[in-house]
């Protein structure tokens, strides 16, 4: 049975998440602060960690915990879960090695979908790619099993949300995807500004590999489009 660690200072949320995830068949342990969690991780690593950024008085406790957890294991999937959703928080969280970032607006089914996707990704990371799960769009290749993306043969390090957004756009090149469609496909509920910053981050990641990248076009007032 897969083990999930929830580090969250709000008891009601902690209990609700734990119960829901147990129902999905995971083994769940909960911690209310950083010291407690770190002590437990020291003896046995969880298979996935769900970390809140603010832990009581420890405002950035989640960030520190992530850094420490990454030092213990480079592969454990980590999801940030926070009431905050400023770009700065998202960027700092992802830079520390988190695999995804969710605000607490996310519903439990959305959360569960992400968790299972992340497990799939880490599980299949070493397995050989199966051709039927590969979507090829010119130089872009998306592995739907492993949830990884490649651009001109190079791996693009996308978070889960970003991968789903790229997938939603690239599946039907030339079609405009509006905000709602992107949110649905990426299993997130956010405002337009967040979509914009997600798209900006995705563009930046591709641009880092290929300075000439211009496939994601903004259609003002409507949404985004994958260009061919």
């Amino acid at each position: 049975m897969r083990r999930i660690a929830i580090v969250e200072d709000e008891p009601a949320i902690r209990a609700n998440y734990a119960e829901a995830l147990r129902r999905y068949g995971y083994e769940v342990t909960t911690y209310s602060n950083r010291a407690e969690a770190l002590a437990a991780f020291g003896t046995r690593l969880p298979d996935l960690a769900l970390v809140d950024i603010g832990l009581g008085d420890d405002v950035d406790g989640g960030f520190a915990l992530t850094r420490e957890l990454r030092a213990l294991s480079a592969t454990v999937p980590i999801i940030f879960l926070s009431a905050r959703d400023s770009d700065l928080d998202i960027v700092s969280g992802l830079r520390l090695g988190a695999d995804d970032y969710l605000t607490k607006d996310a519903s439990l089914p959305h959360l569960a979908a992400r968790i299972s996707a992340l497990f799939r990704r880490s599980e299949l990371a070493s397995a050989p790619p199966a051709t039927e799960d590969i979507v090829e769009r010119g130089p872009l290749s998306l592995d739907l099993k492993r949830l990884t993306a490649q651009w001109r043969g190079q791996r693009v390090d996308l978070t889960l949300t970003e991968f789903w957004m790229v997938h939603a756009l690239a599946r039907h090149p030339g079609h405009v995807k509006d905000r709602d469609a992107l949110m649905r496909d990426a299993s997130i509920v956010v405002d337009e500004g967040t979509i914009t910053s997600h798209v900006k981050r995705i563009r930046r990641k591709f641009l880092a590999l290929d300075p000439g990248f211009d496939r994601i076009a903004t259609v003002y007032g409507m949404g985004y489009r994958w260009g061919e």
């Binding site: 709000e10 009601a12 949320i13 609700n16 998440y17 119960e19 829901a20 129902r23 009431a83 905050r84 959703d85 400023s86 770009d87 700065l88 605000t103 607490k104 607006d105 519903s107 439990l108 089914p109 509006d178 509920v189 956010v190 405002d191 337009e192 500004g193 967040t194 914009t196 910053s197 903004t218 259609v219 003002y220 007032g221 409507m222």
Partner: protein, 536 residues
Amino acid sequence: MKRPRIALSIRAQLLLVLTVFLALPWLGVEYVRELERVLRDAQERTLAGTAQAVATALHDRPRLFATPPDPIAFFAREHIDDRLLSGASLPPSASPEIAQIIEGLSRTSARIWVIDRDGTVLARAGTLKAAEAPAPAETLLQRAARATIGRLYQLVLEQPTNEFRDDAATLGAPRGRDVEGALAGILSTNRRTTSDGRAVIVSAAHPIWVGDRVRGVVVAEETGNRVLAERNRAFERLFNIVLAVLLVGSLALTAYASWLSSRIRRLRDDAERAIDEHGRVRAQFASSGAVDEIGDLSRSFGSVLARLADYAGYQEKMASRLSHELRTPIAVVRSSLDNLKESQLSDDARVYMARAQEGLTRLTQMLTRMTEAARLEQSLSDAERIGFDLVPVVSGCIEGFRLVYPDARIAYAAPTAAIVVDGAPDLIAQLMDKLVANAVEFAAGGAIEIRLDSAGSQAQLSVANDGPPLPDGTALRLFDSLVSVRPAGGSGTPHLGLGLYIVRVITQFHHGSVRAQNKADGTGVVVTVALPLANS
């Protein structure tokens, strides 16, 4: 806010107050008049003293008056009229002995007569017309002063002169009240104006006693010139000082008042600059360090503005803070409901469940909007500015709106020429979204007209909608955070008054301005955004 312009400046008021000091010259005139009186008294007393001294030397010396009348003097007295015609000359002394005595007693500027009871001049010494003293050497400044201000004094003040007609020369001997008094045995003084009116002659007469009879009279005469000169000098000095004091005083006061009013004006300008037309505190107000009341006023202005800015900041951060605080309890509700959904529910419970979900959705919508405003402020700081053409962005947005709001009647004609501004196209799309959502809601099926054009150095984007006009006085507040002018009691989507606030924040990011006004015929509202063009 209309304020009456300054009608009477502090400078003018202080100068008005300064007119009080115009009493100073009047006081000076009074003082000089008093001085003149004292000087005259002194002069009369001195003359009386002189006359008495001479008389004392002649008392009880009958021999001196025994001289028979001088035939020449007699003749002269008989022919006064002839002399008047032939030119004046004073009668000679008839008694050389007396003349010798009084010669020693006479003074430079006084004339002394000794006459007998008949009016015959027994002796005479001295002259009324003193030799003029040589003018002292003058500096250039003094000469300039004499040529200007001295000329003025000469016009106003009576000047002493030696050019007067000496009446004694024509009358032969002094005869006046004083002489009559002295003949009656009393020391008398007299003051008379010469017949040409150009000088005043002061005289004192003292009787000369021989036994108990008055045998003659000593008359001492002097012109008023010395007193006049003394008075004029005092007057001039006093006035020079008063004028100098007034001049320096008014210059100093004017300078002081200018300094004061410039400080107050600066304070006013600073205070006006510190707040923009929306009533928001624009920049840090530099409080003065001066230790007086104006400095104090400036400091209290500063603290009032700082508090106002704090409050405005608090209000603008409120949405962000609220959304942050609300997130956690909403997450509790949501996760609880999600869990509840998984368990076996009765049909009744399902109904309540659905209602709770609906309420939660609305709460989440509000939260999302609040977050949007807060996130926007954060993202502006690292937003990239590029030069871009407004036309495709706005046109694209409107294409999108026609899909999103199929019932709305949106009129728009794209301009043919490019309108390039500096900024972020994403933000402009967000601005359009807010403006049009607002217009669609208020138009309620009515027409919406969107215009985009460039005028001068500005791009103008206006969204006009049919619908109710703005309530009075709300046009500027509309763009503040958490201000909504929708009629109360509306249902459906919640209104937080953040849409137009976002419009304002984005407009400010583009260094533009935004205003809302009612249509001229009152059938709707026009919101106009003006953005500076890129290359201007």
